[in-house]
């Protein structure tokens, strides 16, 4: 298989009604949180292909969670479902009354995964955290994740508490895609060098259609920022504004977007612009008109450099998305 056109199989599993399809729709299909009420139950497996960063295609298997389906996945379809899995995302409903039974099912899934794809990453999302009172959230989440870890066999499991009503969903999914992107170290090396050159406090790369954080580099001073969840919050803020822009310019959220955004304040300057076909770059630099303009100019130059090397077909240095699919970034393309 061509390494540049990688397809990664992602399994989305969990009990019926735990919110799998809801979060998938919000992240990849530009739904807003209150739209997901329209979704019905997923029957059997819904396959979808999500283009992410151009050269990476996520082959998303949204597995309906009703008991009858679960049984077939684990029995007759076992080989089909669990082979070649790159990532398993298992969703727990925090409000579930049958925690033990959920964990038993989870354990059975893990067993099957160990059998067919022992090298898969496993992510567990403890979902619907918004239904828990804020002061108990952390404690209940930690209890639940210890339980989950104890039933995960040899897999190293990342757990996230999430809710479709705030930025925690973006944190969870940013963590997931971060694991899936090929050549990430190359991108990070480039960004680190770049951030140092232009003296930026922070450089963040966002995926274009989902606004998920692909990766970020923070300077020593930038590390002192007391707000830890700023990346997720940014995803949330920008995506909300994208929806607003789409609504008011009479287009679909998928085709709406930003060309460029400049913000200058006495405490920081921010530049947001298209970087590669599928990414936005987000720069935070200290105030100073001249330094800021310089940073923006440099970003533009770097971008030109990339598009040139992409045109020349030398894509080894930086995993540039191929230029032939500029319109095909609508997020979800169901086959």
């Amino acid at each position: 298989m061509d390494a540049r056109k990688k397809k990664r199989k992602v399994l989305l599993m969990g009990k019926s009604g735990s919110g799998k399809s809801s979060m998938r729709s919000i992240i990849f299909s530009n739904y807003v949180a209150k739209d997901v009420r329209r979704l019905g139950a997923t029957i059997d497996v819904e396959h979808s292909h999500v283009k992410f960063m151009g050269n990476l295609t996520l082959n998303l298997w949204d597995c309906g969670g009703q008991d009858a389906f679960m049984e077939t996945y684990l029995a007759s379809q076992r080989g089909n479902i669990f082979s070649d899995v790159a990532v398993l995302i298992y969703v727990f409903d925090i409000e579930s009354r049958e925690v033990d039974r959920d964990l038993d099912t989870y354990n059975a899934v893990i067993e099957a995964l160990r059998e067919f794809s022992p090298n898969a990453y496993v992510f567990c999302l403890v979902h619907k955290m918004d239904l828990i009172q804020a002061e108990h959230r952390q404690r209940i989440y930690e209890e639940r994740s210890t339980l989950i870890r104890s039933r995960s066999e040899h897999f190293y499991v990342d757990t996230f508490g999430s809710s479709i009503w705030d930025q925690s969903l973006y944190k969870a999914w940013a963590g997931i895609v971060h694991k899936l992107i090929p050549n990430l170290t190359v991108i990070e090396r480039f960004l680190t060098a770049f951030a140092k050159k232009i003296d930026a406090e922070e450089v963040i790369l966002f995926e274009r259609s989902t606004f998920l954080t692909v990766t970020s580099v923070t300077s020593e001073v930038g590390e002192l920022n007391p707000i830890y969840d700023r990346h997720e919050r940014l995803s949330n803020i920008m995506k909300a504004f994208k929806h607003c822009a789409a609504r008011n310019t009479l287009t679909t959220p998928a085709s709406a977007g930003f060309v460029v955004m400049h913000t200058k304040t006495p405490q920081f300057n921010i530049f947001l612009g298209r970087f590669t076909d599928n990414t936005y770059i987000f720069l935070v630099v200290p105030p100073g008109e001249a330094a800021y303009n310089c940073a923006v100019l440099n970003t533009m130059l770097a971008r030109e450099g990339f598009s040139k090397s992409a045109a020349a077909g030398r894509t080894d240095g930086f995993p540039l998305p191929p230029a032939e699919t500029p319109e095909d970034t609508n997020g979800l393309a169901t086959r």
């Binding site: 609504r247 008011n248 310019t249 977007g257 304040t265 006495p266 100073g288 008109e289 330094a291």
Partner: protein
């Protein structure tokens, strides 16, 4: 052609100055006066206005004594009509769906909004019988700028309308200067047709009652509102604009700016509440308003994330003190935002492709506008100071 040249923008500078002095005076002399303005000017007439220039210019931030002289807003209505929800959504940025959990208000909640003009919102519990003689009418309605009456359109509103009528008659009798603003609220749950019917029915009932009592041109205005869209912000904007003494000056300034810069629509927003206190006089476009107000949200939210203080954080050079931001959307629309002072920012929507290349000019014109704006406001604070002095004198 939106821009002639830099020279043109200099003429804007002059224009602004002229328009400032002319309109300012004409607005003083205008016959249309709101309640709050009325009392202010009656007092002003008694003294030599020219003497005002001798006073030092006060800063934009109102002094504590001046606060009492500022227009007050009162929210009233039957219980469970949505008064507290409106106050929370508009002035405290509460997401609309969380207002379900608000407790019912049991006593008068005075809520001072420390905005550019200091509005007070009194959330009046619905069950209170304030027209009884035990309540001091002067205490409730004295110095009131506008009375906002909230009617639940999804409920049986006859009771509310009857009570509103009684209130209007009382208010009209003693305080004819108060604007009565009727919010026909919770219309999000009604179909379009039913909405219009309800609106007309309520308007009919109130105006019948008023004309029976002999008030033909009472200052009563009606709005269809809902906290789930922007209609409540729009309605509040209209209410508050009626209380701004220099509105026509501001509108003229914004028009001049917009014409010279090729702005499609310009709003002067109060950042905290996202109420616009003035806009250019072109027709209001809900889409533009929504984008502008959401863009303020974006900038405020991002600023929250990156405005931390630390000695290690040092600027790298000179920069203007006020925040400035613009975004270009996928369809080449540009939204331009500029901070005017602590409370206000100017947001404009620019669709003219030529305008985008001349950002330098736009920025410069906006700065000129900013100077003019601050001039307008510093003058109104001067007035207020004089007013205070007048008020103080008899008591000494």
């Amino acid at each position: 052609m939106p821009f002639a040249s830099v020279r043109r923008s200099r003429s804007l500078d002059l224009d602004l100055d002229r328009c400032l002095s002319n309109n300012y005076l004409s607005s003083l002399a205008s016959t249309y006066k709101t309640g709050a303005q009325l009392s202010l000017e009656l007092l002003l007439q008694g003294q030599n206005y020219a003497g005002g220039s001798a006073l030092p210019r006060s800063s934009l931030i109102p002094s504590t004594q001046a606060r009492d002289a500022k227009p007050r807003l009162l929210l009233m209505g039957l219980r469970r009509s949505g008064k507290s929800s409106i106050a929370s959504v508009v002035f405290h940025k509460m997401p609309p769906n969380e207002t379900l959990f608000l407790e019912s208000t049991t006593r008068i909640q005075k809520d001072s909004i420390h905005s550019f003009m200091d509005f007070q919102v009194w959330d009046f519990p619905g069950q209170l019988e304030y027209l009884e003689p035990s309540f001091d009418l002067e205490d409730i309605f004295g110095s009131l700028g506008a009375l906002v009456w909230v009617i639940d359109a999804q409920d049986d509103y006859l009771d509310s309308v009857a009570r509103l009528n009684r209130t209007i008659l009382t208010v009209q009798q003693y305080y004819p200067g108060i604007n009565i603003e009727v919010f026909i609220h919770k219309v999000d749950g009604l179909s379009d047709e039913y909405r219009t019917d309800t609106f007309q029915d309520i308007v009919q009932r109130i105006s019948d009652e008023l004309s029976d009592a002999g008030y033909e041109n009472a200052p009563v205005h009606y709005y269809l509102t809902s906290i789930y869209d922007y209609s409540v912000f729009e309605a509040f904007s209209k209410v508050i604009q009626k209380l701004i003494p220099n509105l026509s000056t501001l509108e003229n300034l914004i028009n001049t700016l917009g014409n010279n810069c090729g702005f499609e629509k310009t709003y002067l927003f109060d950042v905290l509440s996202k109420i616009y206190i003035a806009s250019d006089t072109r027709p209001v476009d809900m889409a533009c308003y929504e984008m502008c107000s959401d863009y303020i949200d974006v900038i405020v939210d991002i600023s929250e994330l990156y405005s931390w203080d630390h000695p290690e954080r040092r600027p790298k050079g000179e920069q203007i003190q006020e925040a400035e931001s613009h975004v270009v959307l996928h369809d080449e629309t540009m939204i331009h935002l500029m901070e005017m002072n602590k409370y206000l920012c100017l947001v404009s929507v620019i669709r003219n492709p030529e305008a985008k290349e001349k950002r330098g000019l736009i920025d410069m014109n906006c700065r000129t506008f900013q100077d003019a704006l601050n001039d307008v406001f510093s003058r109104s604070w001067e007035q207020l100071e004089q007013l205070e002095q007048l008020e103080d004198q008899p008591s000494v």
